[in-house]
């Protein structure tokens, strides 16, 4: 573990990514405490440009709502959706991939055909359809993002498990009569985890983008403010009021960039071959 942090902190992109992520999480957790008012509240005259009033530093939107407050509250929704939907995707994808890789044969065939079924549908289109059918709410958005993002996890885990399955220590465990569940959980998965972690960090970024895209199209939770909603709502007035779209857009950009940098840093740190070269 110490080794991991050491190499993680050595990679500059990893450090930058971590800083950005911690900042975003800090804003999401503590920001709303600084802004007791709902971000939906109309506080000033509409279309107030940024940097004119200190109470609304980033200006107001078409209804006179504080853009800065919207970004603070939006961070919470965006990060929450990103993390939770990734978690759900992992919970679905890891067991399916592990079982397919470990048992092989018919089980593998069945599970992989099932996975491919989801992979053949364009993921964003599927997400739109799911949210539209289930009615837009935070739950349906998390669920649909999870549904479209678990298949790559399953494929990745299956590949890892397939190669680990033939290792001698696994075969030794089989010979000593350990149960399948024990072998998968204790012997194989811990060793297959590093690429999954890298993938997961990128999935969080993708999920944030997916949520933003859904909200942009008007399929966000109407009771929660999110960055994608702000960009979507401000899009039509972009020529009169650029700030309504630009600031939340920057927030999306930075947080997605941060997560990608973390992914890169994790990759460097967790890949034994690469980190050895580094030393």
């Amino acid at each position: 573990m110490k080794q991991f942090w050491k190499s993680m902190l050595k990679s500059p992109s990893g450090v930058i990514g971590l800083v950005i992520l911690l900042l975003a999480i800090g804003v999401a957790v503590f920001g709303p405490m600084l802004f007791p008012n709902s971000p939906w509240r109309m506080v000033q005259r509409p279309f107030l440009p940024p940097f004119t009033l200190s109470t609304v530093p980033l200006g107001t939107d078409a209804l006179g709502r504080d853009v800065f407050a919207g970004m603070i509250f939006g961070a919470r929704v965006s990060l929450l959706v990103g993390l939770v939907s990734t978690l759900v995707a992992l919970v679905v994808g890891v067991p399916i991939g592990a079982m397919a890789g470990y048992f092989g044969g018919k089980v593998d065939d069945a599970l992989m055909r099932f996975t491919e079924f989801f992979q053949t549908i364009p993921s964003f289109a599927l997400a739109i359809v799911l949210v539209a059918i289930l009615q837009p709410s935070i739950y349906s958005i998390v669920a649909s993002i999870a549904v479209v993002s678990w298949p790559p996890v399953a494929r990745l885990v299956r590949g890892e498990v397939l190669s680990l399955r033939t290792r001698e220590y696994v075969q030794a465990a089989v010979v000593t009569g350990q149960s399948n569940a024990w072998i998968i959980l204790r012997e194989i998965l811990p060793n297959a985890l590093s690429p999954v972690i890298v993938l997961a960090s990128l999935m969080v970024a993708t999920a944030i983008l997916l949520e933003s895209s859904l909200s942009f199209l008007g399929l966000g939770d109407p009771n929660l403010i999110s960055w994608g909603y702000m960009v979507g709502a401000g899009r039509t007035v972009i020529r009169q009021a650029w700030w309504i779209t630009v600031f939340p857009g920057i927030a999306i950009l930075i947080s997605v960039l941060g997560l990608n940098l973390i992914g890169e840093g994790l990759n460097d740190a967790l890949n034994p071959r690469l980190s050895r070269e580094g030393r």
Binding site: W40, P46, L63, D221, P222, T236, V237, R239
Partner: protein, 516 residues
């Protein structure tokens, strides 16, 4: 065309343009926006807003209406009413032909009325008082009513009672009739082609009965799904006419300032769209009158008008728009007063029960309005949950009475008996419909007043009845009236005479001409 030759000669002779300024010029193509794409063009079968706007130039009614809602001749050239106000005799214009060349006669009127009774819900209501219709000769139609019906002369506009060609529809299955896709009417323009998702093209009817009209050669109704793209299409010159409601309100001031651009709020007098919130009177906290009154006090309607509608329109005072007959402003008032709203909620014993709000999925303006109203209501302590839905899903929920508060706007059709009463009388409560009495308000006194008002013959009597009804309704708040909407039409100034009647663009191309 001799007239065009003459005009050309005059121009060639170097006559100044000012000498011709009042004389309509013939020729030219107009591009107009139609939003959204209509589901069909057979006006007798579908009557959505965009259908009326396009098909109103293909079909015609017996009458059209001035901005003051006085009847004017169209297919009927004159009409008379009997002493007892029960017999209406229409003399039809002679020499009118359908686009396929067959003559238009009284038989077509009789057939249209029978067909519309089955296919057109509003026409069926309007015709409920009609006892019988007869055609003594080919150019006379006589309507006999069961009892006098004050607004009867107000039901003959093209969208309310379009004339349908009997020879093409009689004995066929109306729903599958091939002429639904290539409608044949008597109007100034003929259907030419429809590229789905792109444009609808109408061409001039060369045999139109009013000689010299129409002046325009062709109309292209451009279909552009995105509001921002519609604004751009006007700016780049792709379209010349933006009918009311086709661009977002915040774009109106910007587009109005463009060079050679004329804006008018006229042409909606017949419809007078009034926006309100359906309040479900049947269940939950909203069954209490005090909660409904609290909603009226809690919502900042001036803010909605000034900010969301960019200052267009007017704060509504009650069930009638101010342009409707027998409107009175002498009703209880509901200014923006959150403190009073809170007090009323407390008095009613509201304890934070969840209230579902359905915004109208008609674009940005309505979404923003939903957000503002939600915030207003939350500020006085109401627990509001917005339900996101598309137009069809929203209609479904409203029709099933599965809502607490829902946005809508409805047309008023010039007379309280046609457009207002239907929203409040208990006989108009029926599951599955998205207009009429959706809120479930039921008050025998109101039922009686609207029943009496429809059949009262003198104006003063009707005025007295409707003023009383308005006062009772405003006190009871069956729905929360928001704004009298105004949909400005934006067009190039070279488009002349487009809006001359109370139904505006819907039948306007008959008189329109292009000043090149």
């Amino acid at each position: 065309m001799p007239k065009r030759v003459l005009l050309g000669l005059l121009l060639a002779c170097g006559l100044t343009a000012s000498a011709l300024a009042q004389e309509p010029k013939t020729g030219g193509v107009i591009n107009a926006v139609i939003q959204p794409e209509p589901p069909g063009l057979m006006l007798a079968m579908v009557q959505n807003g965009p259908v009326q706007m396009v098909a109103g130039n293909i079909f015609e009614g017996l009458l059209r209406y001035s901005p003051k809602l006085e009847p004017q001749p169209e297919l009927a050239e004159s009409w008379s009413v009997s002493e007892d106000a029960k017999t209406y005799t229409f003399k039809l214009r002679k020499g009118v032909t359908w686009h396929d060349g067959k003559p238009f006669t009284a038989a077509d009127v009789l057939f249209s009325v029978e067909m519309l009774k089955q296919t057109h819900a509003r026409a069926r209501n309007n015709l409920a008082q009609v006892d019988k219709i007869e055609a003594p000769d080919d150019y006379t139609v006589v309507f006999t009513l069961k009892q006098p019906f004050g607004p009867f002369l107000g039901i003959f506009e093209v969208g309310s009672m379009p004339m349908v060609p009997k020879h093409l529809y009689e004995g066929t299955d109306w729903k599958t009739n091939p002429y639904n896709n290539a409608p044949v009417g008597t109007g100034p323009f003929m259907f030419k082609e429809w590229q789905k998702g792109s444009f609808i093209r109408l061409v001039k009817n060369p045999n139109y009965y009013e000689k010299g009209k129409p002046y325009i050669d062709e109309i292209y109704w451009q279909i552009i799904p995105d509001a921002a793209a519609r604004s751009v299409a006007y700016e780049t010159g792709k379209v010349d006419v933006l009918p009311g409601g086709s661009v977002e309100n915040f774009d109106v001031p910007r587009l109005s300032k463009l060079k050679d651009t004329c804006v008018t709020g006229a042409g909606w007098e017949f419809f007078s769209p009034l926006a309100w919130l359906w309040l479900n009177n049947r269940q939950g906290p909203l069954a209490d009158k005090r909660v409904r009154q609290a909603i009226m006090y809690a919502i900042d309607r001036d803010f909605a008008k000034d900010v969301i509608w960019n200052g267009l329109g007017k704060v509504a005072t009650g069930p009638s728009a101010s342009s409707i007959k027998y409107y009175t402003a002498d009703v209880p008032k509901y200014p923006y007063d959150p403190a009073k709203a809170k007090a009323l909620l407390k008095e009613a014993g509201y304890k934070g029960e969840k209230i579902r709000l359905l915004p109208l999925a008609y674009g940005e303006t309505w979404q923003r309005w939903g957000e503002a109203v939600k915030q207003n209501l939350q500020d006085v302590g109401m627990n509001i949950e917005t339900i996101a839905t598309d137009v069809a899903g929203g209609n479904q929920k409203i029709g099933d009475w599965d809502y607490d508060i829902a946005f809508t706007y409805l047309y008023q059709y010039g007379d309280p008996a046609l457009g207002v009463g239907r929203n409040y009388v208990s006989s108009a409560i029926a599951k599955g419909q998205v207009f009429n009495n959706v809120e479930g308000y039921s008050n025998p006194e109101i039922d009686k007043l609207f029943a009496d008002g429809a059949v009262a013959t003198s104006d003063s009597k009707r005025e007295e009845i409707y003023e009383k009804a308005q006062k009772i309704l405003v006190e009871d708040v069956p729905v929360a009236w928001m704004l009298e909407l105004q949909f400005p039409t934006i067009m190039r100034c070279k488009v002349k005479n487009l809006i001359t009647t109370g139904i505006g663009v819907n039948d306007g191309f008959k008189d329109a001409w292009l000043d090149k």
